[in-house]
């Protein structure tokens, strides 16, 4: 197995927020915390694009580098997790993260920040697998049950896919090949380069050919 990764296909996302709902329901995420969210660029304009955004479990995660108490760790599958018992809620990881993934629950009447909460790739945390303590702090551990993240498995258009990097690459290659045959070739998947780097083998990608929004009709 290579590494666990997310891939969001902006050509397919229809902004249904099914992934957001699945995540909230699966992990019983408290009000005000969104481990996953859908961002739409040029909303309402022809050619708009939506992306499902959460922790991308980066290869060289900046949150790990800036954490003053070193509460982050990476599993052998490449999932970036953290120990909530150690987190002090300083918010450094939020400023370092290029995806805005770290979330902080409001724990007091004066907006006091609680311990950081983020997507766990449905892999729980440093508590016994499947225990009530793990569920309360980190949510359900689907990975230990042989399942993929709920957001990806719930996605109706399969815009958001998750799993082993080799498998994702094969799935995306199939899609790009079919799109190229149709003449609607898209660009590289959003967030992929920022999270996992371009690598030595990957040449610079040409800019995506997106349909241009039509010019507004002159008012008569």
């Amino acid at each position: 197995m290579a590494r666990m990764k997310f891939l969001c296909d902006a050509e397919r996302c229809i902004e249904c927020n099914g992934c957001v709902t699945a995540c909230k329901q699966e992990h019983d995420v408290p009000w005000g915390v969104n481990r996953r969210r859908v961002v739409t660029i040029n909303d309402g304009v022809p050619g708009e694009r939506s992306m499902s955004v959460a922790c991308m479990h980066c290869s060289d995660a900046p949150c790990m580098a800036v954490c003053p108490v070193d509460c982050f760790y990476r599993t052998t599958e490449g999932v970036v997790l953290h120990d909530k018992d150690l987190c002090i809620g300083c918010g450094y990881c939020f400023y370092a993260c290029p995806f805005g993934a770290p979330q902080f629950p409001q724990t007091g009447a004066f907006g006091v920040r609680g311990k950081m909460d983020k997507c766990t790739f449905c892999a729980g945390g440093p508590e016994p697998d499947g225990s009530p303590e793990e569920f309360a702090k980190y949510g359900r551990n689907r990975l230990s049950e042989g399942k993929l993240p709920a957001c990806a498995e719930m996605c109706s258009t399969k815009a958001l896919i998750a799993g082993d990097a080799d498998v994702l690459s094969n799935i995306y290659r199939d899609r790009v090949t079919i799109r190229a045959a149709r003449g609607t070739l898209g660009g590289p998947p959003w967030g992929w380069d920022a999270a996992y780097g371009t690598g030595d083998k990957t040449a610079a990608q040409p800019p995506a050919q997106q349909p241009q929004p039509a010019a507004p009709a002159p008012k008569s």
């Binding site: 108490v69 509460c71 551990n141 049950e145 042989g146 082993d164 498998v167 994702l168 799935i171 199939d174």
Partner: protein, 73 residues
Amino acid sequence: MSRLAVVGIALAATFVLAACSERPQVVNYKQGKYAGKPDTPAYQNAPYNGDKAAWERALATRAQAQNEYQRIK
């Protein structure tokens, strides 16, 4: 020039030029060592009980369900 003046100039230069010895201000981020509780691998406990190969097969099978081109062939 008297010896006293030379010593005075040397002392003054020591204090005045002390600011010229600035340290580099570029921060070098280093990942620290994880300080939290240890975690077990995902396949360690039931239902896989340490059978990593079976766990990987289950995930690979599950991942293929995300490829509808594979399913409709």
